[in-house]
Amino acid sequence: MIKFAGVSKYFNNGARVLKDISLDINAGEVVVVCGPSGAGKSTLLKTINKLEHIDSGEIIVDGFSLQDSKTNLTMLRAEIGMVFQHFNLYPHKTAIQNIMLAPMKVKKLGKKEAREKAMSLLGRVGLSNKCDVFPSQLSGGEQQRVAIARSLAMEPKIMLFDEPTSSLDPELTSEVLDVMVSLAQSGMTMVVVTHEIGFACNVADRIVFMDNGEIVETGTPPDIFVNPQQERTREFMSRILHIPINNTPVEG
C-alpha cells in the first residue's frame, strides 16, 4: 500500500531529517511509529501525502509514485486522511461544516448528501449532538474526534495520525483512542505516530522505532517493547515505560 524506497530529506542547512528510509506497509496494516522528538517521525508521516517534499528516493502509495509528475496529487491526497496533533479544525466553520467541506468541494457531493454523510460520521465518533457547534466550543478530545470524522468523510484508504493525543488531557485521550481502535478493527490501513504504549500494544501490527532520521528497528509490539535488539531502542523504551525493560515483562 505504501512503499518507501531509500527516502532521504535534507533541511536547508544540510542537516538530514530522513536518512535512507525503506519501509513497506501493507493494506489493512496498523503501523505505529515511535521515537524521541526530532527523530523525523512527523516528517516521515507528512511525506506520505507530500506535505513534505523529499530529496531522494521514491514513495509509492496505492501504486502511484509521489515523485512522478503525472500522478494526480489531489486525487491521491483525497484517499489519504490525516489527523493532526493540533486538530487543525477550521475555526470559522461549525463541526458539521468542517466535515462537509471537502466532500462537497473535492467529490462534488450535493449539500444534502454531504450533510447526511457528515451526520452519520459524527454519530460514529459519538458527537451527533454537537453538529452545529464551533470548534472553539468543543473540548480537545471532541475536536480531535471531529477531525477524525472530517478525514473519514473522504472515505480514505489510508489514515495518518500525527501524535493525535499528545495535546490532550489523559482523560480525553481515551475517547480519541477508542475511535482509533474501532477504525483499526474495521480494517483501515493506519500509520500512527504516538507514544501511547497501550494503543500500540493492542492495535499495532508493527512498531517502527526511529531515531535521528533513520529507522532503528521494526518489529511486532512484543519484539520492540519487551525484547528490543538495538541499544538505542532499549534505552528509549525503558525511559517511556519508566522501568528497566529487561527485567520486567510487559503485557502485549
Binding site: 507528512k46 506535505l51 486522511g81 493532526f84 477550521y90 475555526p91 470559522h92 468541494k105 472530517r150 495535546s167
Partner: protein, 264 residues
C-alpha cells in the same frame, strides 16, 4: 476671553459656507469638498484592495519570479511619498501619451499608494493563519486554490478588518494631498473660501480640521464596535508548537525589572 468669543463667532459664521465645504460647487460645477474626499477614499481603497490581494499573496509565494516582482512593487511604492506618486501620474502619464483627466490621475495615484500598504496588511493576515490550516485542507484533497478560497482567506480577512479600517482612516486624510493638482476637495475648498474672506483664515482652517475630525472619529468609533463583534475567532486551541517565554510580551515594568536582573 474676547478672542475666544470672537473665534467662536467666526467658526459659527463658517457654517454659512457649509455647502461649499461639503460638496464644493456641486449642482452648478463639479463635485468637491468633503464628499469628494470620501468618494476618492472609498473608490481608491476598493481598487487598491484587489491589487493588494494579488501583490500581497504574490509576496508570500515561494516562486521567485512571483515573489520578487511583488516585493519590488510594494517596497517601491511604500518608500515613495504619496505626493511623489501623484506627481508621477499627473506629469508623466501625459508625457507617455496617456491623457487622463486630472481627477483620474489622482484616482490612479491614490489606488497605487493604497494597494501597496494594503498588500502588506493582506500578507500579514495571510501569514497569521496557522500553517496547519493549509495542511489540513491540502490533506483532505483540496487544491491550493480551493484551500485559499475556502479556508485561508475567510480567516485572514477577518483578522485584516481592523487594520483595513485604520488604514482607511489615514487614507481618507491622505486624499487631501490631491489639492496640489487643483482638485477642489475639502482643503482646496477651504483655501478658496479663505481667499474670499482673508480675515477669517484662522477660523477656516479650524473648521476644516473639525470636519476631518468628525468623519475620522465616527469611523474609528464604529471600527472599535466592529472589532468587538468580529472577535469570535478563537485561536486558544492553536497552541504554538514552539513556546518561548522570551517571545511573549510582558508588561513594561516587568520587562524592565527582568532586564535589571539579567544585567546583574
Amino acid at each position: 476671553m474676547d478672542g475666544f468669543i470672537e473665534l467662536g463667532r467666526f467658526l459659527f459664521e463658517q457654517l454659512l459656507n457649509w455647502k461649499f465645504y461639503i460638496v464644493g460647487a456641486y449642482p452648478k460645477g463639479p463635485l468637491g469638498g468633503l464628499a469628494l474626499n470620501i468618494i476618492l477614499a472609498v473608490i481608491t481603497i476598493f481598487i487598491g484592495f484587489f491589487i493588494a490581494v494579488l501583490f500581497g499573496l504574490g509576496r508570500t509565494s515561494a516562486r521567485k519570479y512571483i515573489h520578487y516582482p511583488c516585493s519590488a512593487y510594494i517596497d517601491t511604492v511604500r518608500s515613495t511619498p504619496l505626493l511623489m506618486i501623484l506627481f508621477w501620474f499627473y506629469f508623466l502619464l501625459p508625457v507617455a501619451g496617456f491623457r487622463l483627466p486630472v481627477l483620474w490621475s489622482a484616482v490612479v495615484a491614490l489606488s497605487v499608494y493604497a494597494s501597496a500598504y494594503m498588500a502588506e496588511i493582506v500578507r500579514a493576515g495571510f501569514l497569521a493563519v496557522p500553517k496547519g490550516q493549509m495542511e489540513a485542507a491540502l490533506s483532505s484533497g483540496m487544491s491550493r486554490l480551493q484551500a485559499l478560497m475556502n479556508i485561508i482567506l475567510p480567516q485572514a480577512f477577518r483578522m485584516m478588518i481592523p487594520s483595513f479600517v485604520s488604514f482607511f482612516n489615514s487614507h481618507f486624510k491622505n486624499t487631501s494631498v490631491v489639492y496640489i493638482v487643483g482638485i477642489v476637495e475639502l482643503i482646496n475648498s477651504g483655501i478658496i473660501i479663505s481667499q474670499r474672506q482673508p480675515n477669517r483664515i484662522f477660523a477656516v482652517y479650524i473648521f476644516m480640521g473639525l470636519l476631518f475630525w468628525i468623519v475620522c472619529y465616527t469611523l474609528s468609533y464604529f471600527s472599535r464596535k466592529l472589532e468587538k463583534k468580529l472577535g469570535i475567532l478563537d485561536y486558544e486551541s492553536y497552541k504554538p508548537e514552539i513556546y518561548r517565554e522570551d517571545l511573549v510580551l510582558v508588561p513594561l515594568p516587568k520587562a524592565v525589572k527582568r532586564l535589571m536582573v539579567t544585567q546583574k
